[in-house]
Amino acid sequence: MLYSYFPGCTMSTTGIEYAKSLRFVNKAIGMRFADIKGWNCCGASAAHAVSRELGVALPARNIALAEMQRPGVPIVVACAACYSRMKCAENAIHTDREKLRSLTGTNVSGDIPIVSILEAFSSVEVREAIASAITRTLSGLKVACYYGCLFARPSGTSHMDDPEDPTSMDELMALAGAEPVKWSFKTECCGGSHHIDLPAAAKPLSKNIFQNARANGAQAIVTACPMCMMNLDMREGEINRAFSENFNMPVYYFTELLALVMGANEKESGINRHFWPATKLISDSIAERGNL
């Protein structure tokens, strides 16, 4: 269970709790994500918007570095937007390898698999390791698993189980003792970077996600994408104010909830760092596995 790891820029800033909880979980299950040394930003949400070349060359350089540093070892990408850009770069390499080689100044070949973090956590081996590392349970905590756009789409590029109704995160949450609810906004867009440049247009998108999660009985939303996390957790307060709502719904990374049921405390899992208070719901739900 070794991967070349592309963390993405948010992992050391807004996604710091994602990085912490992922480290905890990987240690507990014996999976190794080895950083690609010298990696650069994939340009997600800006480079590809205005330049076809930059949009694929930035991520292609990371693929080239991974190929050189750990030949044959698959690349894992934690952020949905980075994953999407890496997959687009992979396609571009397959279409015109020479062009990408000259743009990146590398010998990139594009022949090692690139998987999303959700795929890495879906293998039978990893699922078994997770099941045996879990000592606690979320006691039926009702969660809405939110995949967002870019793990699931574009469907020809992504390897998600189903672009409209993916289930990989739901299965992980069920392992952790949570109860994934059925809901309609699993793969709806959170607005992405438009929360910065077109906030009035983007806000309703995040609001609708909270609304549908609540309508289907969820107590919390679970995500695997740092951008979705920011647009939900950081903006929950402003969304409540803008729409006279009171969602009061914590948002977690799936790795945080896995870390918690593997024995991590609030600090180790990172849930003490959220914008919207996220610790009480966990302390109310979590129990030792035998005590149910």
Partner: protein, 187 residues
């Protein structure tokens, strides 16, 4: 209702075809069912719905296409392409139109263009993006000076601001790559 001068449209049809082929799209594949627009989460803010963008291109209305706000409002969520019954890659087409507009200095939605420029500032410096640096630039260039200000104290408290920005190991490599891409785009 759009009035079309067919003589003019025929002249611009080639440019429309070129945009479509950049996106790997065959324009005649679209039969205007509107499923793309039905699923588009940003459609409510667009001046032309996704299926209308395709129709403009089919009709050879290049000016209307390139000046539309829609490609800049598009969040690149790919719902349109995913659900198209004819497998038309509409999001790729939106991207091709946006890239062409950007390279011709056309941008009907100024803030989105500013964001894409300001996002790349830390990437040029550090090889990495950085929310705080990008936001600082964007707030100044866009004039939305206090945008997202209220989140700063909590970001500081939770260690999310990244006060010491991280740098990619081979920054010269990344800068050279950016330069090569910009040269290639000019040609």
């Amino acid at each position: 209702m759009i009035e079309v001068n067919l003589n003019e449209a025929a002249l611009r049809a080639k440019e429309c075809q070129e945009l479509a082929s950049r996106a790997g799209v065959t324009l005649s594949d679209c039969y205007q069912c509107g499923k793309c627009s039905a699923g588009c989460p940003m459609g409510g803010s667009m001046d032309k719905q996704p299926h209308q963008m395709l129709r403009l291109l089919q009709l050879g209305l290049y000016e209307e296409t390139i000046n539309a706000s829609s490609p800049w409002i598009c969040a690149s969520c790919h719902v349109c392409a995913c659900r198209c019954p004819h497998g038309i890659n509409i999001s790729e087409l939106m991207e091709a139109v946006r890239q062409r507009a950007a390279s011709s200095d056309i941008c009907p939605v100024k803030d989105v263009r500013r964001f894409t420029k300001d996002f790349l500032i830390p990437v040029r410096w550090l090889g990495r993006s950085h929310e705080a640096i990008m936001s600082a630039f964007y707030n100044i260039t866009s004039g939305h000076v206090f945008l997202n200000f209220s989140h700063i104290p909590q970001m500081l408290l939770s260690g999310k601001l990244g006060i010491v920005p991280e740098m990619s190991g081979d920054i010269d490599d990344v800068r050279a790559l950016i330069e090569r891409c910009e040269k290639e785009a000019e040609n």
